[in-house]
């Protein structure tokens, strides 16, 4: 199973403040531990949202909105991709992560990643057949 482990942004990360030496060292050690356990697929830290942008979709219209964005709690500051055997295992790994924002409360969110077989199993021949039937029914209804 693959999980994305998301560090939420806070005022400091949004201000572009880098973690102090101790935290950097601790994070480095933690990443090394993940790699040595064979669970680390990727890890990235993100620059503040002031350097980013959003593209808003509305019908066929696209509007570009420049950062920064204000709702700090909804923003992310970095992520890991981990390959583990269970949700419990990734939780256990995240509990071992150094506190990303010492001195304040913060959260790390764990989300399972869809993988090809997740769709593969769902899309059985029976389901595909059912889909065709639905499509046929819709076409039929459209004629009325």
């Amino acid at each position: 199973m693959r999980f994305m482990v998301i560090v939420k942004a806070d005022k400091r990360s949004e201000a572009g403040e880098l973690p102090d030496q101790k935290l950097l060292a601790d994070m480095g050690k933690y990443n090394e531990e993940l790699a040595k356990a064979g669970v680390l697929l990727a890890a990235e830290g993100l620059q503040p949202s002031s350097k980013g942008a959003r593209v808003r979709f509305s019908g066929s219209k696209r509007t570009v909105i420049d950062g920064p964005f204000t709702e700090t709690k909804e923003l992310i500051a970095g992520f890991w991709l981990m390959q583990v055997k269970s949700r419990d295992e990734v939780i256990e790994w995240v509990k071992r992560c150094p506190n990303p924002f010492p001195g304040t409360e913060s959260e790390i969110e764990i989300r399972q990643v869809f993988e090809a077989p997740d769709f593969g199993d769902e899309l059985t021949p029976e389901l595909q057949e059912a889909e065709k039937r639905v499509a046929a029914k819709m076409a039929e209804n459209a004629k009325r």
Binding site: E32, A35, K36, A37, G38, V39, L40, L41, A42, L81, Q83, K85, S86, D88, E89, I91, E92, W93, E115, A116, P117, G120, D121, L123, T124, P125, Q128
Partner: protein
């Protein structure tokens, strides 16, 4: 936290901690069987205590401390037992005595090479390949005997026996718990890589309807490979194997159709290839090459896989490079099967006639007599050259040799197709 929750949490802790725990204990007690027993004891203690006390802040340290106490108890008990038996040699006693004294200090040492020692010991060539596989999955993957049995489609007692015997063999043959050095290292490393790749292939061969644990073996092997790459970063073939597995695993989502039939590499929807794994695979191959010690068989196979991974469409595949790589592979590990693969690549790079010439040259090889792939390839190339009668005969021969029902159907269908096309071209050729 319910009992079920805490059991699942303990499982997770166990998966993370077991290899390090067993490895650390094995270094001290010098016997992986005893080390595993001690580690298991600490797991039992956790299962008894954690559901009511909660999972401790540092579960790894807790397990280690518990195992440590058990180890010291065991040694003391043995010592008392041995003291009663005056016949026991003095030296052994002294050594044990010292061991019990040092145990505490030794266990507090950093993990260091312990895991590496554990991998090399579990994959020791005194054990049969199947025993090495079972022991590796048990000690390093933290799999239960039941899980291993399901993965390899054998009864659980068989696996349990296999593991018990393997541990006994290691202690009877006094296999030292160490990382081999010097000239030993190459041979021992190839034994480790062989086992990891064997586990991977067992998972790769699994089909959609199989128990989930079988395809899970691919992930298990990848994990072991990634661990090994961190522990032995200066070994090019370790990175080569990791690269090969990452790239092969990247195709997992594309290689089986909705009804479970296999989709051949060139027909796969490349949009379904996992780009993250491809990138990791290419990076691992770069790491292997960067060590500048040439490519071994795994690195070469990874380089071939990389040629496919880099091609955005099947038509863009660099077949000439693949031909060269198969040539390099033949130089380091000659085999008629590799020859046949090269013939296929030659046909793709230089046309079916050039490929056929190579295939015909292999036809007499005794190792390929019962290998359905040979007539299958021959049939394919003959069909491309529009020699349909010969192609039909080759496909029929291949169909008679294969044991896979789906494959047989496919080969028969191709034979029938050739028969039809043969009668269609007949008037012209006369």
């Amino acid at each position: 936290m319910t009992a079920a929750d805490s059991h699942r949490a303990i499982d997770a802790v166990w998966r993370i901690e077991a290899p390090r725990l067993i490895a650390g204990l094995a270094r001290v007690v010098g016997d992986i069987g005893l080390a595993e027993d001690l580690a298991q004891d600490s797991l039992v203690a956790a299962l008894e205590q954690w559901p009511s006390s909660g999972v401790p802040q540092n579960p790894g340290a807790w397990l280690m401390a518990t195992a440590k106490h058990r180890a010291i108890d065991t040694f003391r008990r043995r010592r008392r037992f041995e003291q009663k038996q005056a016949a026991i040699g003095h030296q052994i006693e002294l050594a044990r005595d010292e061991a019990a004294g040092n145990i505490e200090a030794a266990l507090d040492d950093p993990v260091g090479d312990d895991l590496l020692r554990l991998i090399f010991t579990a994959c020791h060539p005194v054990l049969a390949a199947e025993a090495r596989v079972a022991l590796t999955l048990r000690l390093l993957g933290g799999l239960t005997t039941d899980e291993i049995a399901r993965a390899f489609l054998v009864p659980e007692p068989t696996i349990a026996q296999r593991i018990v015997r393997a541990k006994r063999t290691l202690s009877r043959k006094r296999v030292p718990f160490e990382v081999p050095r010097g000239s030993d290292l190459a041979a021992r490393l190839s034994s480790v890589l062989e086992i990891i790749y064997l586990i991977f292939n067992e998972g790769y061969a699994a089909t959609a309807g199989d128990d989930w644990i079988r395809p899970g073996l691919c992930e298990e092997a990848l994990r072991l490979g990634r661990i090994l790459a961190e522990l032995a970063p200066n070994e090019p073939e370790v990175h080569g194997l990791v690269a090969l597995m990452e790239i092969q695993a990247s195709r997992a989502g594309a290689r089986v159709g909705p009804s479970g039939d296999p989709i051949l590499l060139l027909d796969q929807n490349r949009a379904r290839w996992d780009q993250l794994l491809i990138r990791r695979g290419l990076a691992a191959l770069d790491r292997a090459d960067a060590l500048g010690r040439g490519r071994g068989p795994y690195s070469i196979q990874a380089a071939i896989a990389a040629c496919h991974a880099r091609a955005r469409t099947a038509g863009e595949t660099d077949w000439r490079q693949i031909v060269d790589l198969y040539g390099a592979l033949l130089a380091v590990s000659p085999s008629p099967v590799v020859e046949l693969n090269r013939a296929v690549a030659v046909a793709m790079a230089f046309g079916p006639a050039a490929g056929l010439e190579r295939v015909e040259a292999l036809a007499g090889d005794p190792a390929l007599q019962r290998y359905h792939f040979l007539p299958g390839v021959r049939g394919d190339l003959l069909a491309k050259l529009e020699r349909f009668d010969e192609a039909r005969a080759a496909f029929e021969e291949a169909a008679a040799l294969t044991r896979n029902g789906r494959e047989r159907d496919l080969l028969r269908a191709r034979a029938d197709d050739c028969a039809r096309r043969s009668s269609a071209v007949e008037p012209e050729s006369r």
